[in-house]
């Protein structure tokens, strides 16, 4: 594979994405909401909420029953207010973080695969001396790398926000824990890859980036299920579960990308053009 060519495809796609307000806006707004506004609000206001008369706090006992012994030991040192903050910011929002790599990957990939077909710019690219695999790899990386970068930046922002916003109550740095490290460096890349695989397959049939994005966005449903499972105490998002989740996501991503690469043949693409 010619990496200079792949780099040129990535540069081209990223330049195009950076100049489209419609594509760029969700890439900035969603991380800003999930990684800054939400943790800042929760970190600052959670203790006040628990003090409000008639406030329905989550069933902590059910959640605490699911915790492994080491976590229980950690939790025993916290006051009720501190426990609420850790519960909300470290555990409740953990699966929600996965929406970031997923969203970035699907938005950029929809623009790169289906959007290019819509703008009729793919034909000229198909006539270049790139191989199908170089084209496919270039387009994948142009969505996957930004997904990882935005996730990483989001993680740092989330870490700073939670620790600063909750400092008056916590009085210590409590974020990140090992689960979050696994989440960011193992599960997030896999989640982005799942989003990519789904988008590539959908894009081969879709006529516009918007269509592709809307259908591919359905892969967010398993993430929502994780959030609900965590919130209702059905599942504890611990390190082991997170590691296993990563393996499952990588396997799904592998299958989707394998199907995707088979649909990405210039002869098939041009025949539908």
């Amino acid at each position: 594979m010619n990496w200079q060519v792949i780099k040129a495809i990535v540069r081209r796609d990223l330049l195009a994405v950076s100049r489209s307000k419609g594509t760029l806006l969700p890439l900035i707004l969603v991380p800003l909401i999930f990684m800054f506004l939400l943790p800042a609000g929760l970190g600052y206001f959670t203790p006040a909420l628990s003090d409000m008369p008639g406030a329905n706090m989550p069933d902590m006992a059910q959640f605490l029953d699911l915790l492994p012994r080491e976590a229980m030991a950690e939790f025993e040192t916290y006051s009720t207010d501190q426990l609420m903050i850790v519960f909300m910011l470290v555990y409740m929002l953990a699966p929600m973080f996965l929406i970031i790599p997923l969203m970035v990957a699907t938005v950029i990939a929809s623009d790169s695969f289906a959007g290019e077909k819509e703008r009729k710019t793919l034909e000229a690219l198909i006539y270049t001396p790139t191989t199908d695999m170089e084209l496919f790899t270039g387009k994948l990386l142009s969505a996957w790398v930004p997904a990882l970068v935005v996730s990483l930046v989001g993680f740092v922002l989330y870490g700073l926000t939670t620790n600063i916003a909750a400092w008056p109550t916590m009085g210590q740095i409590f974020f990140p824990n090992i689960t979050w490290i696994v989440l960011v460096f193992w599960v997030a890349p896999a989640t982005a890859a799942v989003g990519l695989g789904a988008t590539v397959i959908v894009s081969s049939k879709a006529n516009s980036a918007q269509d592709a994005n809307q259908i591919a966005a359905l892969v967010v449903l398993p993430i929502v299920a994780l959030v609900i499972a965590q919130a209702t105490g059905v599942m504890y998002f611990g390190t082991l579960i997170t590691l296993i989740l990563g393996v499952v996501f990588w396997v799904i991503a592998g299958v989707l990308l394998w199907i995707g690469v088979r649909t990405f043949r210039r002869s098939e693409i041009i025949a539908r053009y």
Binding site: L15, S20, L122, T128
Partner: protein, 318 residues
């Protein structure tokens, strides 16, 4: 010709379901030649270009382009060909400079040559002043010029131009024509020109191939085709100024007469007859009506005459 062909196809066929887009194409194109590939929309021109560049696989038959098999050496082949697609296909979110420099990288041009080559083309195609503007603000002609610049960026040996002047203003059209002549004449490049602009084909092409429903129905120089394939006659007649309108009216009523055109402020009318046998009928009708006929001169048939004759023949078969 004694040179080995740049393009040689044998029985090249491509089907899409029940539709045969290219039907047993046997064609040879020689170095330095401008070959016109004529046909109406959907006649198989674009599919042929795709097959010859290895971006589409044939259902049957073989092709050798620049000595390579497009089905197995597509990437290597595309390094040596340039293609101007029917729609300009330029990225409107990028600037002209970015469009060209990124494609230069895709063609693996040496980095130290990219700036120079891109600058040279932007100047040649009169885009240098707007090089850093996004292409979305360009006119159609500017986008087409940019697409042309991109097609020749890597100095291809063989250039495929799919409707290069479609929708362009006369000045840009002339510029494109000059470029095609220079590429072939001065630089010895081979040009495969897909067009349905018959005047363009007649002016620029050494030979033309006519495609109808995927089949090549004629191949030769424009004059050869006119001589061999057109049974009609192109005429110029002279009458008096006061009778010229009546003449045109009579000619329009004559079955088999078409392309009737009156010269501006002159008592001269040109027309095409589908058969030579119509000449006595035409003369009789004019004389009977009392129209003075001072001159009746046969003209060289145009490619348009040949094309329509072929088209009518093929349609009659269907």
């Amino acid at each position: 010709m004694d040179k080995s062909p740049v393009i040689a196809t044998q029985g090249l066929t491509r089907q899409f379901g029940d539709i045969t887009a290219v039907d047993h194409l046997d064609l040879e194109v020689y170095p330095g030649e401008v070959l016109g590939f004529l046909g109406h929309n959907g006649s198989g021109k674009t599919t042929t270009v795709r097959l010859l560049n290895g971006v589409l696989t044939p259902t049957a038959g073989t092709a050798a382009v620049l000595g390579l098999d497009p089905t197995t050496a597509g990437a290597e082949l595309r390094r040596r060909t340039g293609v101007l697609t029917e729609t300009p296909s330029v990225d409107e979110r990028l600037t002209a400079y970015e469009n060209l420099s990124i494609y230069a990288e895709l063609y693996s041009m040496p980095k130290d040559q990219i700036d120079h080559r891109v600058g040279e083309l932007l100047t040649q195609f009169q885009l240098a002043d707007r090089a850093d503007d996004r292409v979305s603000g360009y006119s159609k002609g500017m986008k087409q010029r940019l697409a042309l610049a991109r097609a020749i960026l890597h100095s291809p040996e063989l250039l495929f131009l799919d409707e290069p002047t479609s929708g362009l203003d006369p000045v840009t059209t002339r510029m494109v024509h000059t470029l095609i002549r220079d590429l072939s004449g001065k630089n010895g490049r081979t040009v495969f020109l897909c067009t349905h602009n018959l005047d363009e084909a007649q002016r620029l092409c050494d030979r033309v191939a006519v495609l109808e429903f995927g089949r090549m129905v004629a191949l030769g120089t424009p004059n050869e085709l006119a001589r061999n394939l057109w049974q009609g006659l192109r005429l110029e007649l002279e009458t008096s100024l006061e009778h010229v309108n009546a003449t045109v009216k009579i000619l329009r009523e004559l079955t088999g007469a078409r392309d009737i055109a009156q010269a501006e402020a002159q008592p001269v009318v040109t027309l095409s007859l589908s058969k030579r046998d119509l000449v006595p009928q035409l003369v009789n009708k004019l004389v009977e009506t009392g129209i003075p006929l001072y001159r009746l001169t046969p003209q060289e048939p145009t490619l348009e005459d040949v094309y329509f004759a072929l088209h009518e023949k093929e349609e009659a078969k269907v």
